[in-house]
Symmetry: C2
Subunit: 603 residues, 2 copies
């Protein structure tokens, strides 16, 4: 490089006028005007207009005509102030031009498969295949630079608070943590497999037993799940663990961290202490354990109003142990058409909702297809309980608690969006606490709500020896942090007593043998002076996504995978040599090459 840059493309100002400088960057837009050529030269830091004027340099001007978009250029020239009235106020460098005297072509470029600066409507697959070009857009650059800044602030916070950053292995041991593990066959120990970690959970607990006291890691984690839009096979979590603490300590640190992040990254003051809601309350009032608190439309249980109802649908739901719950869309009657209301029933169908009822509180009295089934006192109690006034619309569901909650939670969000109640830069944080330690699986057996290392609250410890119903009533010392209706992190105080841990395994039907094989070292470690400890993991990708106001996780990851877990840029996963498999003592089921796409049922 002959003309190595002296300044970036975002740096020149009026104060530089008269200086001779070098810039390096990419050719953006190109304009010819009265024999003079104007080119936007850009890099990560900005855009500078460079001018090829035959009066300035005949040589350079001739070259200007050979340049194309995305060519890489080095130029030398003189900084000049733009003529009066020609400054571009949208550009930080908009008050100057660089008049080119020397030129060096650093690289040419084929015509890109899409317009990098206007790629909004380009097919996602094309952008992923040419990810290196998609990442050249100022938008994607700013997102990843934002992420880098955020991560640095997070690390600074924990380092400043005497946390030790410790790297835990990626080649680990398979543990049953809910999702499927990615496996790595071992060559040196044929027939055995490493597993990529779903989280560093066991290692960080080991580190607490070691006395590190305060640990953190920005940790890569892996889950071989069938992917939803918000998930990636590998994701990053901010992983922390502390000793000799209570859940309050974890909560306080996270709140301080988010106060700082929101202030420094977004210029927004958020309130601390944050709102806290128990799991039960969240499920009741918002129908979700990750409630969106940016708007109201809270849910009210009105089962008691209809205890003696003769209305078949309500009566049936209650007799089957279900409930009736409702939302008041306060004052929104005029903004809702009959069609809006009728569409709710198909809307809840995917969530197994069988129907949605409504009452419109008109000036001339309530209007509803079902009100005729209510007794006067039922109607009266209902209006009272729902605080129903003229202009309101009450939305009802009667079904199992699970279905009612899920449907009403979706309806809340649906109307909040419809009525424009979700404003940009509105960030509603909350803690959800007092989760049940266990939930019932399909056979009614207790299964961990979080993971099997979560401690019960001390006051519920005795219930571990109780009935199945007792077990399902145990409250855990777990806490989730929620932002705008998404769970962005969760954690708990862990079990530090090996007797309790063994009891939990036994409740979960993990036999002594199995527990020993899978968690042997943890059970051992708990017997050698394990301190009380607890921690939390934050879903970094999701946090960044929400802070940036984007809906796609791939917007905040440099090289994301598709929903089929492939990388379209590198074409991973790929085929491997027979010889490599032999070294691993593995063979593939015989796959007909033409049928590769089909499912295998070769067992």
């Amino acid at each position: 490089m002959r003309l190595k840059r002296t300044h970036t493309c975002g740096e020149l100002r009026v104060t530089n006028v008269g200086e001779t400088v070098n810039l390096n960057g990419w050719v953006g837009s190109y304009r010819d005007h009265g024999g003079v050529t104007f080119i936007d030269l850009y890099d990560r830091w900005g855009i500078t207009q460079i001018v090829f004027d035959p009066d300035h340099s005949h040589e350079a001007h001739k070259i200007a005509h050979t340049l194309r978009g995305q060519y890489v250029a080095a130029v030398r020239g003189e900084v000049k102030a733009r003529p009066e009235g020609m400054a571009n106020p949208n550009l930080e460098t908009g008050e100057v031009d660089l008049y080119v005297t020397e030129f060096e072509l650093l690289n040419s470029s084929k015509t890109p498969p899409f317009d990098i600066l206007h790629a909004g409507s380009v097919h996602a697959e094309t952008k992923l295949k040419y990810r290196y070009l998609d990442l050249r857009s100022p938008e994607m650059q700013q997102r990843l630079i934002f992420r880098s800044k955020a991560v640095h602030m997070i690390r600074n916070y924990f380092i400043d608070n005497e946390f030790v950053e410790i790297e835990t292995p990626i080649l680990g041991r398979a543990t049953p943590e809910g999702a499927r593990d990615y496996l790595v066959p071992s060559r040196v120990n044929q027939g055995k497999f490493y597993a990529l970690p779903q989280s560093p959970q066991l290692y960080k607990q080991a580190l607490m037993v070691s006395g590190f006291d305060r640990y953190f890691q920005i940790a890569r984690c892996f889950r071989d799940e069938d992917l939803r839009a918000e998930r990636q096979p590998e994701f990053t979590q901010v992983d922390i663990e502390m000793s000799f603490i209570s859940s309050e300590d974890i909560i306080t640190h996270l709140e301080k961290l988010f106060v700082k992040l929101m202030k420094e990254l977004k210029g927004i003051d958020i309130t601390s202490p944050m709102k806290r809601i128990t799991y039960k309350e969240a499920m009741l009032r918002y129908g979700s354990d990750a409630p969106d608190l940016r708007f109201g439309f809270e849910i009210t249980d009105i089962s008691d109003v209809f205890q003696k109802t003769e209305f078949g649908v309500f009566k049936g739901a209650l007799s089957r142990g279900g409930c009736i719950r409702a939302i008041n869309l306060k004052g929104y009657s005029k903004q809702l058409s009959r069609k809006d209301l009728d569409e709710l029933t198909p809307f809840v169908k995917p969530m197994r909702g069988k129907g949605v009822a409504w009452i419109r509180m008109n000036e001339d009295g309530p209007q509803s297809p079902i009100i005729k089934f209510f007794s006067d006192s039922e109607a009266e109690n209902l209006y009272k309980k729902m605080d129903a006034e003229t202009g309101d619309v009450i939305i009802f569901l009667a079904d199992t608690e699970k279905i009612v909650s899920q449907c009403l939670a979706a309806i809340r969000s649906h109307f909040a969006k419809k009525f424009g109640l979700i404003r940009e830069n509105d960030f509603a944080f909350a803690w959800v606490v007092d989760f049940p330690l266990f939930e019932a699986d399909d056979e009614g057996n207790p299964t961990p709500t979080h993971h099997p290392f979560t401690a019960p609250k001390p006051e519920d410890m005795h219930l571990l020896d109780g009935s199945k119903e007792d077990l399902l009533n145990i409250t855990s010392d777990a806490y989730d942090i929620v932002l705008n209706g998404s769970e962005i992190g969760g954690g708990s105080i862990r079990i530090h007593d090996h007797v309790v841990q063994e009891k939990i395994f036994s409740i979960l039907g993990i036999g002594e043998e199995e527990a020993k094989e899978k968690f042997g070292f943890l059970l051992d470690a708990l017997q050698y002076g394990a301190p009380p400890h607890g921690g939390l993991a934050l879903g970094l990708d999701r946090v960044i996504m929400i802070l940036l106001g984007t809906n796609a996780i791939r917007d905040v990851i440099a090289f994301p995978k598709t929903q089929k877990a492939t990388c379209l840029m590198t074409d991973a996963p790929g085929t491997v040599d027979e010889k490599q498999l032999e070294e691993l003592a593995l063979e593939l089921f015989v796959l007909d090459e033409d049928e590769e796409e089909e499912d295998e049922d070769d067992d």
Copy 2:
């Protein structure tokens, strides 16, 4: 926890006398003295002596006798100054005692399998199995805390210099970068495999094409190699890449970084600019491309002295294209016995050295088993060239250049250690530059000295079209950083011209088809406006190891693997269910359970 700590175990001073405080920690040593019990309570921050005095609290004193080493305790008590003359100057808290008034047992402990505080001679395997206990030793804690600090400083350096930290995928695509990949079978795309990255090389080059300009990452990398003591299957590298730069920019940043690290972590001022040595010079003068510059004993080529020798060994070596080289152990004659010298021949045998000759420069003239074969002028020229004076010892080898270099490099280190020339806290940094782009493989064909993306120096570019000999004479724009005889990092300016990159692949015998399959996206990316770029990767584990003055990589990794690539703590790798393999369309070669340890040759 009733008695949550108000202070750490390393915090109390004379200024706290009279205060009532809580401490939490582990029980260390235990002493009874005149009815009073003294216990060292410790945590990550230090040790405080806590006193159970029946006059202070009868209850607490009774409990003291039930405590054992590594029990976890919370205590409340009064800080008292130690009596005159009883202070412990070795302990930061040594001027005070805590007189316990309340006690809470947080956890008991079985007797640990080894004495955590004195584990020096404990078998390595035992310490790895109980790694969580080994990590409780102050020594291991300080090492990992040092590492955390160093990593934070490194990140701060790059962030302060506008580098963007970007995470690249762990689930990547297999590429032939010398070592064997770890593979991850894909479930969703059966028959295909991800590979764990040996380095983020291709991704970081893609990021330069994207215009990120300055990238860094503390990146986990993986190599499925047969392990040597210094290697782990997974390791961490400080990975950087820059655009629009020359090798000088990379070198300058790294020097600034190390000046800062050495100053802030070790209190040592190192010199920048660091010494630079060409590859040729390093091989000639030190016999190694990672020369140890903490001591002299430089190598001199004396082949020219013996061009016409009649001495068979020398004559033979020269006629086969080899060389004769020597070291002058200046002034060390008196410290060397005949035995020391005779032992050199067996010493070089593992390096394929056939023999080592020597001349001792005694006061009564030179003494040597081979001097009788030299002509007078040969001897005279030799002494002159070697600056041989009374009291010196000259050490010779005649063989191929490779063997001579390797043996003399080992002999240099051997005597430097023997004569105590390697002082603690002596850190000799240097750059090795001007590496050949290719080296000859066993068949004499060019193979990359670094990796196939390394750029030739511009002045040698034309040789790419030359003969095999021309190719082997190309100098690359690559640079290694060396510390105390270890390569701690290396990098290069990369090829940014796709025509040159394709030419390199073709020279390496990577056909168009294969190149397209393996590096297709890089070849594409280079055609869409790739800027000139280059970078470097530092071996973090090794850097930390050298700065801490330890010889074992496992001393600086929290959960290392054995040389058999197993984790003795978690027992990884482990067996997996048949069902998991079925989902991956894989099956194991039929292994007789009893023969699992044996090699498989089932093909």
